[in-house]
Amino acid sequence: MNSELLKTKHGVSLLVMFLMGSSIVIGTASDVKQDAWEAIILSALFTAPVFLMYCRIMDNHKGKTMLEILPELFGSIAGKVMIGLYVLYALHLGILVVRNFTEFIQIVSLPETPMRVVALVFSIVCIYAVKTGTFVLSRFAVFTVPIVLAFMILMTLFSMPDMHLSNLKPYFASGWIPMLRNTYGAFSFPFGETVLFLFVFRAGNEYFKLKRVYFYALFIGCGAILMATLRNLLVLGSGLFGSYHFSSYVTAGLIDIGDIVQRIEILLSIVLIFTGLIKISICLYVAVAGLSKIFNITDYKTITAPVGIFAAIYSYVVYGNTQEMFFWAAYVYPYYAMPFQLLIPLVIWITSEIKTKIEKNKMGKTEKIRTDDIKVVPVITQ
């Protein structure tokens, strides 16, 4: 693992690409239609304290990833069980993201190509990326983030002639319960998924400030998702925004400036492939790194290929059809992901605080004993 070489900009780029990942493809909080942008802002506000909790856990154990922290806090067996849970979560998330992208590619551009072929080709690239290590992946992210953001800003600017501000009204019309449900939905997908980075990043490096990484990424990632959601809402209106599965793609298809700038959906496809590649690779990395820790395998690269191919093949049977995929993303995933994103980190944080306090107290006592010894020594010599 070469994650100790990471600098703040690498971490921010990785997180931004991860956040944009599939949330740009299938959208988030689209259930509350014209209030989706408000739900995203509220979810970002809810995310801030959760990120503080993640950072606090890592600050308590400087220079370590979650793979080392969990056995240290809960013992070897319980620690490995918890790592196993996160391996399952990362693998499942990777499978879901592979499926999102294969669905997208099959529906919008390659309807005749079998889904398994697209999934396998996508996964082979991810396997290669994971084998090169997180540092190479992060350098790829640093290179692609400006391109992705530039394409997104360009598409928003080109969509401006078709935007209607009245599409945002009425504000907060969905009611509090749907609003809260979708706010939590937007937290769990994609902001809460960044819990996987606790298995990649290490705190305590002077060039890598974890708090900065998380909060800069939250700011940029939330801004990008908000921009895409507002663009889609302003162009399509609340009715069409809620009914299209890939609303960003439809919005990009409507762009037509003087019969010259048109059919620029391809830019969106490029954005999606870059962000998807990073997201699937991170999920795969966490899965194989966790598995190698559980089985005490010296090099995680040895099992990257079978696990990656397993994810590709399994993505085919994980959902019956496209409707099921969207149903899962909207109504099941937020609750399924809650233990991994909130409950287990909360338990880890509380345990970590208690253990750190106990250790500090012990250190304080031993220091006191030592200073007492030093005071006693001159008396004895006299």
């Binding site: 259930d31 499942h92 079998p114 398994r116 072929v117 396998l120 082979i124 396997i127 749907p178 449900r181 598995l291 089985f295 005490n296 395998i297 010296t298 090099d299 690269k301 040895t302 099992i303 290929a305 079978p306 696990v307 191919i309 397993f310 093949i313 399994y314 085919y316 049977v317 994980v318 959902y319 019956g320 149903f327 899962w328 909207a330 109504y331 099941v332 609750y335 399924y336």
Partner: protein, 74 residues
């Protein structure tokens, strides 16, 4: 049969690429993981090929979650 052949092709390529780290290191666990993944994936593909309906294990999670928190009625 195309997915089966593709899977075999991908597996052979990766074993060839990983030959050094998989077989020279002789870590039994690694070979076990390779075998486990190969058998499970092949069984999924074969069942799929012969029209056996494979329920995703996540169906049970879906049923469990929606029984506790039902989705809103539109």
């Amino acid at each position: 049969m195309i997915p089966l052949l593709m899977y075999f092709f991908a597996m052979v390529v990766f074993i060839f690429v990983d030959y050094d780290i998989v077989f020279k290191v002789k870590q039994k666990k690694v070979i076990f993981i390779y075998c486990f993944v190969t058998v499970s994936t092949l069984s999924v593909l074969l069942m799929n090929h012969y029209g056996v309906d494979i329920p995703s294990p996540f169906c049970y999670i879906k049923d469990f979650v929606t029984s506790i928190i039902p989705p809103p009625q539109k």
